[in-house]
């Protein structure tokens, strides 16, 4: 393998120094002169008619600059099928529903004004269980529809499941359930919206999708009668994303409306409680699964039906079944697949993207059930997985073209590091068990939209510093650093010479967003392409370049570079002749030479990279990603049968990453993902009672703390994907996908009980133990 100087190195995150000194400015830290503070009044009922809203008292409060309801402003609609207006009229369908908003000179006055708004409701019967909501006499959430089942028919069929089931030697069937969890970004969401006198809009917003948000805002401005207004989005430092900032939401449009009405900048900043109550969650799902295999333990079919609680409105969350299809069709070789999902409106909160986007839910069911099938067929679960593991070159039933695939290597690493065979054979420690689970995820972009692209502009200054304007978004995952490393490597400069600019839609090119673990792959490829073009231009100018100088003794020197640019290269800030490496000229000298002469030129280049992956077709088939990421997690646990508590003794997370551009940051993704996955497995849950969030705080939500740190070994398997930049595939999401089933399987191994509902709390474990004892 070629020697690389920046790629593959454990280079610290570029903005870490600003973050450790408190200099990094998040949306919470921003103020604009003359800024007002916006607050939103939400519904007091999960389902009710709005009889009357009276804002007159609020308007009279000293310091209030505007109070708006649906009556006062144009009706902007948002969401995946635009089924909700920004401010509700007629009726409310969830506790999240926005009824009115206030702009005032400080947040306290705005809050006080909300209390002065009088709303008269006429309560309607609500429905909070998707199964109840499917019944013909259930209250209708959206009256214009005939029922509560969303008209998006998620259905994937490959092969003949019925026939395969008949011919299977073993079949395992079960039902699994997962509930709401939420992102818990330490930095809550916020926005500042500001119009200039020509009605151009600038927003400061911690978004994962600057380019798509720009379009959403443009659409909103059109509704507001401002079709020609320009939109600029400036991203402050983002305090975590995990999917929560992957769409535009009501509060953003409300800030825009308030800013327009008041002609002042307006900030809306979510409090922690608001973040818990009003951030879209991961989708809850009820999963019915059956899988079969032949006598040799080869999978014959997989049959899954799901019911998803869509909540009161439809967001991108309703499209998670499209991603669930990925593990359902393509985790392990399974020739016959059937999957059907129904999204059902209820009066609950509505869900959205969250790291893994449906994959953790589906994988929990698949990998728990794989274990059941392995047991039914009498094969060791690890061996069972090896027999069915995906391999390079495979085309899966969903028509995914698997290029690189390190799944078997990942399983073997788990086996080795957990000492699988001996632990399975050997004398068992009471309450101790091992388990594993695998994953597939998109690792080379995902064509969800018409474009899966990212643009980059690279320019160089007179001194050899490189400015990279990328469409991509860093929200802490390290995009800023890996892109700098790849550009430095491609151009032959040092990583510290590369400056990443990714904050401003006025200067940064288009990108579809920081989702689908796509940034290293797509933005990376784009940056490498642009860097290559700049390098070519530099070498064209450098060809035949003559450097003359006098030394201290007054002797004249001259160096002339090779006249053929093909014979030139850049390394460590110097341009070399490949054939005569002693002939070298400082890059900065050549760069200045480019424009300090007649007919001079500026050196810059742009590139747009859009992988040739495919949108799913009408049958939900197609090569969604240019490359696929694989992994296997193994865990050893100790269960306290008295308390039901699960203690993790050892955790191995092996991931096929193509190539690690920055092993340290990559491990950070694996550690963080795993911790989030373990939280999903064991402790985290947003508790809703009749549509109301009952635990809108960290204390009761229960994410892991430093005291619960898991001893995680992150194992990097490099398969060098040809399509990836320097061989890399994505790693943002995979880390959390298989944690829950791995732990569920270890629990079964430890004490013989299978928990089929997340989270696996001590109460549930104890209950399962008692039920088992009864039998």
């Amino acid at each position: 393998m070629e020697t690389l100087s920046s790629v593959g190195k454990r280079i610290p995150k570029r903005d870490a120094v600003d973050k450790v000194t408190g200099r990094a400015a998040y949306i919470q830290d921003l103020k604009v002169p003359g800024m007002l503070y916006g607050k939103i009044l939400r519904s007091k009922y999960p389902h009710a008619r709005i009889v009357r809203i009276d804002t007159s008292k609020a308007k009279k409060l000293l310091g209030v600059r505007a109070v708006i309801t649906a009556e006062d402003v144009p009706q902007i609609r948002y969401g995946f099928i635009k089924d909700q207006p920004v401010l509700k009229s007629g009726k409310v369908r969830s506790y999240r529903d926005e009824l009115a908003a206030v702009a005032a000179i400080d947040p306290e006055i705005a809050e006080e004004a909300l209390h002065l708004i009088e709303v008269e409701y006429e309560a309607l019967p609500g429905v909070f269980d998707p199964i109840e909501a499917m019944k013909p006499d259930a209250p209708l959430i959206h009256e214009e529809n005939k029922g509560n089942i969303l008209k998006i028919p998620w259905k994937l069929v490959a092969g003949d499941v019925e026939e395969a089931r008949k011919n299977s030697a073993f079949v395992a069937e079960d039902r699994f359930e997962v509930t709401w969890v939420t992102h818990c970004c330490l930095g809550t969401e916020g926005i500042i919206a500001d119009f200039d006198l020509r009605n151009n809009l600038t927003t400061y917003r911690n978004t994962q999708i600057p380019s798509l948000a720009q379009r959403d805002y443009k659409d909103a401005l059109k509704v507001m009668g401002l079709p020609d207004a320009k939109v600029r989005i400036i991203k402050p430092t983002i305090g975590g994303g995990f999917g929560s900032k992957l769409d535009t939401y009501g509060f953003e449009y409300i800030a825009i409306l308030l800013a327009y009405v008041t002609r002042k900048p307006v900030k809306i900043q979510k409090t922690r409680e608001e973040e818990f109550r009003y951030t879209s969650t991961r989708q809850p799902a009820i999963v019915q699964i059956a899988q079969g295999c032949d006598k040799e333990g080869k999978l014959t079919f997989r049959d899954i039906s799901m019911i998803l609680d869509n909540g009161a409105y439809t967001s991108w969350g309703a499209t998670t079944p499209s991603v669930m299809m990925m593990p359902i069709s393509s985790l392990y070789k399974v020739p016959n697949v059937r999957y059907e999902a129904k999204c059902v409106y209820t009066n609950n909160t509505w869900s959205q993207a969250m790291r893994g986007y449906g994959n953790p839910q589906a994988t929990f069911a698949i990998e728990s059930n794989m274990e059941q099938l392995a047991e039914a067929s009498g094969i060791d679960p690890l061996e069972f997985r090896m027999r069915n593991a995906n391999e390079p070159g495979e085309v899966t039933p969903q028509r995914f073209k698997i290029t690189t695939c390190g799944l078997k290597e990942c399983i073997q690493e788990v086996s080795k590091r957990l000492d699988w065979a001996n632990k399975k054979k050997g004398p068992k420690v009471e309450g101790r068990g091992i388990g594993m689970a695998c994953l597939i995820h998109v690792g080379g972009g995902a064509r969800v939209y018409k474009s899966d692209g990212c643009g980059t502009i690279v320019k160089v200054d007179d001194f050899g510093a490189v400015d990279v304007f990328t469409g991509s978004t860093d929200m802490g995952q390290g995009a800023d650093t890996v892109i700098a490393q790849m550009v430095a490597e491609e151009m032959g400069v040092l990583c510290e010479d590369v400056n990443i600019l990714d904050r401003d839609t006025d200067v940064c090119p288009w990108d579809v967003g920081a989702h689908a673990s796509r940034t290293t792959f797509v933005a990376g490829n784009s940056a490498v392409l642009a860097a290559r073009r700049v390098k070519e231009r530099i070498l064209n100018i450098a060809a035949g370049f003559v450097d003359r100088w006098k030394d201290k003794q007054g002797n004249k020197h001259e160096i002339k570079l090779d006249t053929d640019p093909k014979n030139l290269t850049i390394k460590e800030r110097m341009v070399y002749s490949v054939k005569e490496p002693e002939k070298k000229i400082a890059l900065s000298k050549i760069l200045r030479g480019a424009h300090y002469e007649k007919d001079g030129t500026m050196i810059m280049a742009e590139a747009f990279y859009d992988p040739d992956n495919e949108n799913l077709d009408r049958e939900f088939k197609g090569n969604l990603s240019k490359a696929y990421a694989y992994g296997a997690h193994g865990v050893e646990i100790q269960v306290d049968k008295e308390t039901g508590k699960i203690k993790i003794l050892k955790y191995v997370a092996a991931h096929d990453v193509g190539r690690a551009i920055n092993p340290m940051l990559l491990e950070g993704q694996v550690y963080g993902g795993t911790a989030m996955g373990v939280g999903y497995a064991l402790t985290e849950r947003l508790i809703l009672e009749k549509g109301e969030v009952m635990n809108p705080n960290f204390r009761d939500y229960k994410m892991l703390t430093a005291k619960d740190v898991i001893p995680i070994e992150a194992v990097i398997i490099e398969t060098n994907d040809e399509a990836g930049p320097f061989g890399a595939k994505g790693i943002g999401e995979p880390g959390l996908v298989p944690s829950a089933p791995a732990i569920a399987n270890a629990l079964y191994d430890a004490i013989g009980v299978r928990i089929k509902e997340l989270p696996m709390t001590p109460e549930r474990v104890l209950k399962a133990i008692k039920e088992k004892e009864k039998k």
Binding site: A25, L186, G239, Y671, A675, A706, V709
Partner: protein, 167 residues
């Protein structure tokens, strides 16, 4: 009724009139516009607002501003030397990959500083205990704990080197 207080902030003597209802976090972020200390939850659960009052780590979002009268307060802005030289904890957080989104970082570092000031050579359990009130969603805490260990090592080995130099 505002109250006049005097205190030392990051080594600078301060005299201010504060509202009895202000929290230390409001004083820092709103009045002094020192935004390095973060708002994370406002209820003392997440530790993003951790600062040191007389060397002890406190949640600034719960701490009444009037109670710093006569006290010494250290925030993340006061950790690096004026020359720009970083504190060993800051260097370790950077080098160990302990910073992702960075929102928890100032509070995390302040909690770690309170620990290392009192106990420069803590065990892993002591580190976990000291950081238990500081939530992080990005890192799974692994590299944060590595960073505190690395900083502890840097601080304690420097301590050993000093007497040797004197010899």
């Amino acid at each position: 009724m505002k109250k006049e207080i005097s205190f030392v902030l990051n080594g600078n003597r301060m005299e201010m009139e504060v509202d009895p209802f202000w929290t230390l976090l409001e004083l820092l972020r709103e009045e002094l516009e020192m935004t390095g200390t973060k708002y994370g939850c406002g209820s003392g659960e997440c530790g993003a607002c951790t600062v040191l009052v007389n060397g002890k780590a406190v949640n600034a979002c719960l701490f009444p501003a009037v109670e710093i009268d006569g006290a010494s307060v250290t925030t993340i802005e006061g950790l690096a030397k004026g020359s720009g030289e970083l504190h060993p904890l800051q260097t370790a957080f950077i080098e160990q990959g302990a910073v992702q989104c960075g929102y928890c970082t100032p509070g995390m570092i302040m909690s770690a500083k309170a620990l290392l000031d009192e106990n420069p050579n803590p065990t892993e359990d002591e580190i976990r205990h000291a950081l238990a009130g500081n939530f992080c969603r990005c890192t799974g805490y692994v590299q944060i704990i590595d960073a505190v260990k690395a900083a502890s090592h840097a601080i304690t080995t420097k301590g050993e080197m000093r007497p040797r130099k004197a010899e």
